[in-house]
């Protein structure tokens, strides 16, 4: 029972854009200062989305494995760079970039693969119409969680180094000495997902589900996809974060359980 989707043309985008232009004028008039940012963001939005629209159109038309892999690789690189850019204090050497990239890769790729092979099972399994949006949703959430929790943990260890050293001096293991900060970081990273899951459908209609409904899907079918997606996202976020925090712990303490903040920039 798929109804025909209303086709939008460029004028429709223009009409919607009028709202943002109006907002920009208002903000500029009162000199609130974000007009420039708003303008840049709006232009980026239009350019980036049209570009990705064409890329996906090409990808969907010619769904070869190689192209899907390249697309996934580009997404991974961009997301890893984004994680690194969010760090106030980075790990020195290869691990600065490698930490974000490797934990993101392990968690979101593994979870996306599981989602494709076990849960959704498209034919072929890498069918870009499924694999790319799935990977994208898992990866963007995982990226935010890893970026946020890593930044929090390195900052916490840096700011509380005197306390951590005293705990070590009293014979605590490095794990015990940083446990409160680890807990705090895991919480910070996973809470947005937990909250979104708990309020889904009550406070907000999740984006993907809304999209499917707008595209003509039956709501009860769209809901199934949304539930699966949230479980996959929770897995990606949780496992990715645990891996990232584990690597930080492993890098910032040496084999004699000494806090090695010299390994931070």
């Amino acid at each position: 029972m798929t109804t025909e989707t209303i086709q939008l043309d460029y004028y429709d985008i223009l009409f919607a854009g009028i709202i943002v232009v109006g907002l920009g004028i208002l903000l500029g008039y009162y000199r609130l200062g974000v007009t420039r940012d708003l303008a840049i963001a709006s232009v980026r939005l239009v350019v980036q989305l049209f570009l990705i629209g064409y890329v996906l159109r090409f990808l969907f038309a010619d769904g070869r494995e190689g192209y899907v892999a390249i697309m996934a690789g580009v997404m991974l690189l961009v997301a890893s760079r984004e994680i690194m850019a969010r760090q106030k204090r980075r790990l020195t050497g290869w691990s600065g970039f490698g930490l974000g990239a490797s934990t993101l890769f392990v968690s979101s790729f593994a979870i996306a693969l599981y989602g494709l092979l076990v849960v959704v099972r498209p034919e072929p399994w890498y069918l870009p119409q499924y694999s790319i949006p799935l990977l994208g949703m898992i990866m963007s959430n995982t990226m935010s969680a890893i970026g946020l929790s890593m930044d929090r943990l390195t900052s916490a260890l840096h700011d509380n180094r005197a306390i951590i050293e005293q705990r070590l001096a009293l014979g605590e293991s490095s794990r015990d000495a940083i446990l409160p900060y680890l807990r705090d970081c895991i919480r910070t990273g996973i809470m947005p997902v937990v909250n979104a899951m708990a309020t889904a459908g009550i406070v907000s209609l999740p984006g993907m589900m809304t999209g499917q409904i707008l595209a003509g899907s039956i709501p009860t079918e769209a809901v199934k996809y949304q539930i699966i997606i949230w479980f996959l996202i929770a897995g990606g976020v949780g496992f990715g974060m645990v891996a990232a925090l584990k690597v930080i712990e492993w890098r910032l303490f040496d084999e004699r359980q000494r806090l090695r903040l010299d390994r931070l920039d």
């Binding site: 306390i163 070590l168 001096a169 014979g171 605590e172 040496d254 004699r256 359980q257 010299d262």
Partner: protein
């Protein structure tokens, strides 16, 4: 218990040798920034360092870092508290007697550490260290924040413990007077080497 330190290196300090044993207190004075605290932290294996450090012949690397730090206890100059109560920082709740020996309120284990004065933090820090029953004490100005009366109580408490345990202590002090009073030997840390305090003054202590 004998702590022997051979060829210790940390940051740009080199070839430090020192032996402390059997109830002996070795005092260390020197200007701030001369590396006294770094030396204590290096011995406790809290900062990157190299050297042959042994406790009664057992090499430091043959022990887990936790065991080493429990045996060689480091008291920092500024004591931090991170749990909600004072007592939560102790393995065994400090006895009334132990608290009284340092003129601390018998109720203070139940307090939130935010309530403690500088002097109370310092004295409770000493009890917190002794609570782990270390063999060797690495003390970083343990009486710096205390008035005269409390300072001598704390001195005596530490000296009693060291004698009882027949361990040893490396005691960083802000005053040469205290160094001569509590130390069996005393050194000044200067230009990255240890100079015996006696040789400076030409005086020999008993």
């Amino acid at each position: 218990m004998t702590l022997s330190i051979g060829n210790l290196q940390f940051l740009d300090w080199k070839n430090l040798d020192l032996t402390i044993g059997d109830g002996e207190v070795v005092c260390l004075v020197g200007e701030s920034g001369s590396g006294k605290s770094l030396l204590l932290r290096a011995i406790a294996d809290l900062i990157l360092n190299e050297g042959a450090i042994e406790l009664d012949g057992a090499g430091r690397d043959s022990m887990s870092p936790r065991d080493w730090r429990l045996k060689v206890g480091y008291l920092p100059a500024e004591i931090f508290w991170w749990e909600d109560t004072v007592a939560a920082h102790f393995l065994n709740r400090p006895s009334k007697q132990a608290l009284e020996s340092l003129r601390l309120s018998p109720d203070c284990p139940g307090w939130n550490p935010n309530r403690l004065s500088m002097g109370e933090r310092q004295r409770l820090g000493i009890l917190r260290l002794l609570d782990r029953e270390p063999e060797i004490l690495l003390l970083d100005e343990p009486t710096a924040n205390l008035d005269e009366a409390n300072s001598s109580l704390a001195e005596n408490r530490l000296l009693d413990y060291i004698r009882e345990k027949r361990g040893g202590a490396l005691w960083v002090s802000h005053s040469s007077a205290q160094a001569r009073r509590v130390g069996d030997r005393a050194f000044r840390m200067k230009d990255r080497i240890l100079v015996a305090l006696d040789s400076e003054t030409g005086r020999k202590d008993g």
